[in-house]
Symmetry: C2
Subunit: 339 residues, 2 copies
């Protein structure tokens, strides 16, 4: 590859060297019918030699398509997102799209601008707790799909989510059958469906079994290890008789394990801890966490496929996909200690 000048190579440069018009270059490189095999070969050869790459801004200005999908993630420290992003990017690649990770931190202005300035054909929302973004995407007619979390009570928008109610019910059943009666819950923010639904499902299931959860045994905190640890210590401090903790995700559960170590409460002999998500860390010997498995790969792929379908054909109806979950019994649960 020889770079001729210090400025960018354009299709005009290629055209000149190939002795054809600029339009022919454009056609040839996109394998459009209506170009002879010979010129196509020649154009391609020269384009390669010059290291020509069609400029995205020109292309998308003229087509109003970008072949890019924004993926809004947050709290990238959460290994959960890693498991989600991997299959998404793969699936997008298969269909010729590029996945662009948008970091949804507190100062969301730059991310916002990018989403609405025509940079993306569609957006996957994996880390959204309020409905600001979904609402604006809706208004502007930008296809999107919620991932993992969805918007409370808005079941008519596209989403690919785990069966939170079923998962928490499974945990409630497990703990009840083991004989636990003093149970604590570390839930996520109520603004997230992963937080609120898992809490609600769990309490309702326990209630059906005549087990009540004391208000002091419930904490609603952000989905981080640190918050999980703090919350667990608070619950164990306020209600020392608690023998089991249900955590709304694995990060919180890992934090709870940390707290158990600090509070000298051996797991599972003195304290049962159950998580949700089954992130890859959960199966490490160091944690060996009993949890609810969500097939994140399938969750992510389905969302991606549905979104791309809608991008290709906006008339396609929104779809809400609920994924089955499964209880994974590892080493952090047991019957409560005898008094």
């Amino acid at each position: 590859m020889r770079i001729l000048s210090c400025v960018t190579v354009t299709s005009i440069d290629v055209a000149k060297l190939a002795g054809v018009s600029q339009a022919t270059v454009s056609r040839a490189l996109r394998d459009q019918r209506g170009t002879s095999e010979s010129t196509r070969q020649r154009v391609r050869a020269i384009a390669r030699e010059l290291g020509y790459v069609p400029q995205q801004s020109g292309r998308s200005l003229s087509t109003s398509k970008t072949r890019r999908i924004g993926i809004v993630v947050g709290e990238l420290t959460n290994p959960f997102y890693a498991a989600l992003v991997d299959p998404i990017v793969h699936e997008l690649g298969k269909r010729g799209y590029l996945g662009v990770l948008l970091y949804n931190d507190d100062a969301h202005e730059p991310t916002d601008a990018a989403i609405f300035d025509g940079s993306f054909d569609g957006v996957l929302l994996a880390a959204v707790s309020d409905n600001r973004l979904p609402q604006e995407l809706e208004q502007r007619g930008i296809p999107y799909c919620m991932l993992n979390r969805e918007i409370q009570g808005r079941r008519e928008i596209s989403a690919s989510v785990p069966d939170n109610l079923r998962g928490s019910e499974l945990v409630a059943g497990l703990l009840a059958n083991l004989g636990h009666t003093e149970i604590g819950v570390i839930s996520g923010p109520t603004s997230t469906t992963t937080g609120s639904e898992r809490l609600r499902g769990f309490r309702d299931s326990l209630a059906r079994r005549n087990i009540a959860v004391h208000p002091e045994s419930i904490r609603k905190v952000p989905f981080t290890i640190e918050d999980g640890c703090r919350a667990a210590r608070e619950i164990l401090g306020a209600r020392p008789n608690v023998t089991a903790l249900f955590c709304a995700n694995d990060l919180l559960a890992i934090g709870a394990l940390e707290a158990a170590a600090l509070e000298m409460r051996p797991v599972p002999q003195s304290l049962t801890i159950v998580g949700f998500d089954n992130i890859s860390l959960a199966r490490l010997r160091a944690f060996n966490l009993t949890t609810v498995a969500v097939d994140l790969s399938v969750l992510a792929r389905q969302a991606t496929m549905h979104l791309l379908d809608r991008v290709d054909d906006p008339s396609i109806e929104p779809l809400r996909i609920v994924h089955d979950v499964q209880l994974i019994l590892r080493g952090t649960h047991s019957a409560p200690p005898l008094r």
Copy 2:
């Protein structure tokens, strides 16, 4: 915000409603001098009302600037990258740039295209082991900066890296002083400077202390927990007398801890394990990993600042920044067991 049509709002729409020319809208919204306060106010009001967002493709086509920086990361399952990306995105935001995460998986064609199609003003390379990308960026005159890893022997390109030699020397000193003589090393791929330099620095330091590392006690594997676990089991299988393992990063060390648990080698009584990086997981009670701390936040910020400096002024010389490291003594090291 009322959206008038189903299509995108352009500056012409704003201009019409404001009763000014399209050029004036462009000027007013960018606070250019040469626009009266009153029209500026009016234009802004109408733009907001219409939900107008300047289209990036149009803008960058005309300015050949994107105010976007590509961040090439890989193995997103590695929590290491999370710690890196967070400060980068923050720093970029402060200077009005958007950080776009590009996932560098095996099939890198889409990522490549994005990098070279004029989508970015500059690129941060955080997960690159060969010099294909750096070389091409160089040829095309796209500013870039290596992060954490750099290219073997190419010290004249911009990079922000930890002092790998010093770090591994610290570990060698620690292990030697504790009395270990049978030592294993789990290193990363030799194609990465983090892998090769940490291995070399460690062996050289031990050699200076007259301690040799048996070839069977060295494994070079990808930087993952699974590979770390497998490598540790292989080493412990082949050389049961090994009493200490130095791992080229914390993920490998966590894998080694897993292996120790499986092989019934209590840590640190029977086996000392030391990592590198000090990722956030390392300090959890479940691991409590002795390791070498790199201030990733500073590493990332410096790289970002230097890159943006070069973007703003391409005449600025490349800069190689080497960051100091620090030994963090936690709970996975001790003297070797008595025979």
